[in-house]
Amino acid sequence: MTATADGQAPAVSKPPRRRARAAGRLLRRPAFVVLLLIVLIALFGPFFLGDPLELGPDTLAAPSMQNWFGTDQFSMDIFTRVVHAARLDLLVGFIAAALAVLAGMPLGALAAYRGGAFDTLLLRVSESLQAFPTLLLALGIVTALSPSIPVLVMIIALVNVPVYLRLTRSAVQPLVNADFVLAARCAGKGQFTILRRHVLPNVSEVVFAQFSVNVAWAIQILAALSFVGVGVKLPTPEWGAMVRGGADYMIYGQWWVALFPGLAILATVLTLNQVADEIRHGS
Amino acid sequence: MNAGGGMDGIDRGPGAGEIPLLTVEDLTVGFGGGEDGGMSIPLQGVSLRVPRATRMSLVGESGSGKSLTASAVLGLLPEGARVLRGSIRLEGEELIGADERRMRRLRGGRIAIMFQNPRASLNPVHTVGGQIAEVIRVHSGAGRRESRNRAVDLLDQMGIPDARRRASDYVHQYSGGMAQRAVLAMALSCRPDLLIADEPTTGLDATLQQQVLDLVIEQVKARGASLLLITHDIAIARQTCEQIAVMYAGRVMESGPTEEVTAAAANPYTAALLKAFVTVDRGRMYAIPGTVPTLSGPLAECPFADRCEMVGPECRERVPELRRIGGREVACVKA
């Protein structure tokens, strides 16, 4: 306390003001913009369209000005159904992936930070979970339980937990003895504070990139489960189930019934994967 | 830009017969942009000459451009870097704009390179002896057995004990010092005229540093080759090389016979570097104030002006050219 003894308290420095150029930053991430669009469509689209279960005059009508994507075997409007289905698919995808992150990330971080028996145990459990083919595992559990939406979400989340656990663990491991973590220990910070303040923020980029991939993956699993008939059942609007329902008509030339929901899956999955890339490579 | 043009050696220099082994003139290298101004120019007209059978050091701090100069000579400029101006000649042959095949032949042949990290220069999945033998085989056309024997001989000459057995080891089985000896053996395997050693001992401890440098000098001398030693340590340069070139902010500040330059530096930067590195003062260390300038455009004044004790208004007028003063060249208006 020698240098400050001169009485006059010097003005405390202020942080510089920075204009967030969010728009500019978004433009450099086109896939992000597309994803935003898809989410907006899922959120607000249904308000502008009719009931997805409403029956029309024609079954299996080809795409026209009346029915942009045509109608299906029940004479429902496919465009309306594809937009409505976006809600369910994205919601299941996001929630399942989010649950997986919430469980996997702290566990993985703790495993890496603690090490020892705790780490080994978690690793073995997640390895044995991952040893099963994902779809088969999901299939097994769904057939054992009754296939309701919450059950589907839980299952998709469960098969994704090991992914985050291992990802976070391997990202955290090099940080455990990083100098800045040691410095925080020198500042008298405890284990959990250090994890929360210094370790997790530094792995968030990797985890968020994976999150995006996993939402896509969750949507694919849901669609696949619906496709093989244990997921969502028609006529509930869901992309996988719609593809399943339309597949039979493909050979008769009524391609639109399966194609449009299929394209919706493709576009969403590609966009999410692209977003993951942008997170990884972005500034 | 004389890219592509000067292959036929028009510019043979004044005195015939006295062509230096390596001549770098006004070498200017830029990164990125160009028109939109996002350009950085890390080399701002570097000039130096390495005569035959001479050991020369290129001394500078990080960002001085010493390693980039070496990369340019080797034709291995990093992605995004362009030669804006200048020439690099190996015995009169222009290397800027030379085609990649020619450069590749020079790199393994007349010019050899030794990097800071020996483990990164050797392939981890091949035996050390096998790699050296391969280089010999490709460059000299010798047979397998013959190449192998020559590789073992070389390792032995580099002071690797039990060379025949160690030749079958992989690089991870070598200690740091041994690995750097093996890299030297590989560099010398095709009998280069010029060995470029980029901080060859920086990762090594002082006692090892000395051993490796002794070996490099001995080998280069015995083979009549030239050495371009790139180092941040002027004390090492002083001990190893007859000639010295001191770089700062992408320019050569002073060059000449090492003894002359270190005994009485003509450029204040050289003097400051010597004081900071060599002189040990009790209780206080010599410090050069300020930081190295960022080279975001062409220089307009002496790059050391902001940190120089002797700075005057004439230092700000323009970039001082390298001028010949006695046996050396100095870029300082006050010299």
């Binding site: 410095a183 020198c186 | 900071a276």
Partner: protein, 341 residues
């Protein structure tokens, strides 16, 4: 608060640190990085440990800060034994012993502003208001010769030299009694190195902090240290005052290190010593002097265990020849002190 204590800031007794690793066949291998070292650091002094990489010198400091566990031995910080102390209780004592890292860029959280890194230290143990913390941070930054505004940047946005100053400012925020300097200049450029060394010396003169300096740069050690310990393969081979070590080194390893450092001055007594070969952990398993394969003076008796022995001028040397027959290893009694006959 320094009046109360006249004893050493830090006292280390027979410290041992083993690293257990597994080899390719999953067999346990014990590597002894630190092998029974003892020393004390007095208030306001700089105690330096020098040696090549692999000597274990950095490990010593990390053990003392309890960033890694010791295997054996005892450490007293301001009189209190800390090795057996649980982490939770030691946390409060951390304010007395701090660390400056070799690479300042690695020592700061890349995502956080420098200021928030400093704030963690300013808020040590709680009890300071945010305004007080801010004033303390700004003052600490001014004390190392930088404008406080710089702290709003991120670590990657300032130069290495500036960041090392900020790292020093950060560790001083808790007013430590002892600062462990782990190669504080070796990631910096030559022209910046002197600035940091001078700053550290100024701070010591002003605040009376003790330094434990670990470095391989013998120029830096010469300028900063009061006493020097030379470490080789986990052991101290020579301990003495700075001048004893630099001008009248006894141990062949010390002399070899000084020779290789290409120092201009001071003039050294005795013939120059050149060490051959390199450091090898195999030697740790042998009972005798660990330098024998590299030492030009080695003979049969060197294979017997060597103790640190006093030479009569207050220093300790782990070499029987240096103590008993210095002339045989090229020490011609040209030094000012008695040759310990």
């Amino acid at each position: 608060m320094r009046e109360g204590m006249n004893g050493p800031v830090l006292e280390v007794g027979e410290l041992v640190k083993d690293y257990v690793t597994r080899d390719a066949k999953l067999r346990q291998r014990v590597a002894r990085a630190v092998d029974g070292i003892s020393f004390a650091v007095q208030p306001g002094e700089t105690f330096a440990i020098v040696g090549e990489s692999g000597s274990g010198k950095s490990t010593v400091g990390r053990v003392l800060l309890k960033l890694t566990d010791a295997t054996e031995g005892n450490v007293h910080l301001l009189g209190e034994e800390i090795l057996g102390m649980p982490e939770r209780r030691f946390r409060a004592l951390r304010r007395h012993i701090q660390m400056v890292f070799q690479d300042p860029l690695a020592a700061f959280d890349p995502r956080a502003t420098i200021r928030s890194s400093l704030r963690e230290f300013a808020g040590f143990g709680g009890g300071r208001s945010r305004a007080e913390q801010n004033r303390a941070i700004d003052q600490a930054i001014r004390d190392v010769g930088l404008p406080p505004e710089i702290s709003w940047r991120r670590p990657s946005q300032v130069s290495g030299g500036q960041l090392q100053r900020l790292s020093i400012a950060r560790s001083l925020l808790v007013k430590p009694q002892l600062l462990f300097l782990d190669e504080p200049t070796s990631s910096l450029d030559v022209s910046i190195r002197g600035q940091i060394v001078n700053l550290l010396v100024e701070i010591q003169d002003r605040e009376g902090i003790a330094y434990l300096l670990v470095a391989h740069d013998l120029r830096v050690v010469y300028v900063m240290a009061h006493r020097v310990a030379v470490m080789y393969l986990g052991q101290f081979v020579e301990i003495g005052t700075r001048d004893q070590i630099y001008e009248r080194a006894r141990h062949p390893y010390t002399r070899g290190l000084l020779e290789a450092a290409l120092l201009d001055e001071p003039a050294r007594a005795g013939d120059p010593v050149r060490l051959t070969g390199e450091i090898s952990e195999e030697q740790v398993r042998k009972p005798g002097c660990r330098l024998t394969p590299r030492c030009p003076f080695a003979e049969a008796r060197c294979d017997e265990p060597q103790q640190l022995r006093p030479t009569g001028d207050g220093r300790l040397v782990r070499c029987w020849k240096a103590v008993e027959v210095p002339v045989s290893i090229g020490l011609h009694g040209s030094g000012s002190s008695s040759e310990g006959r």
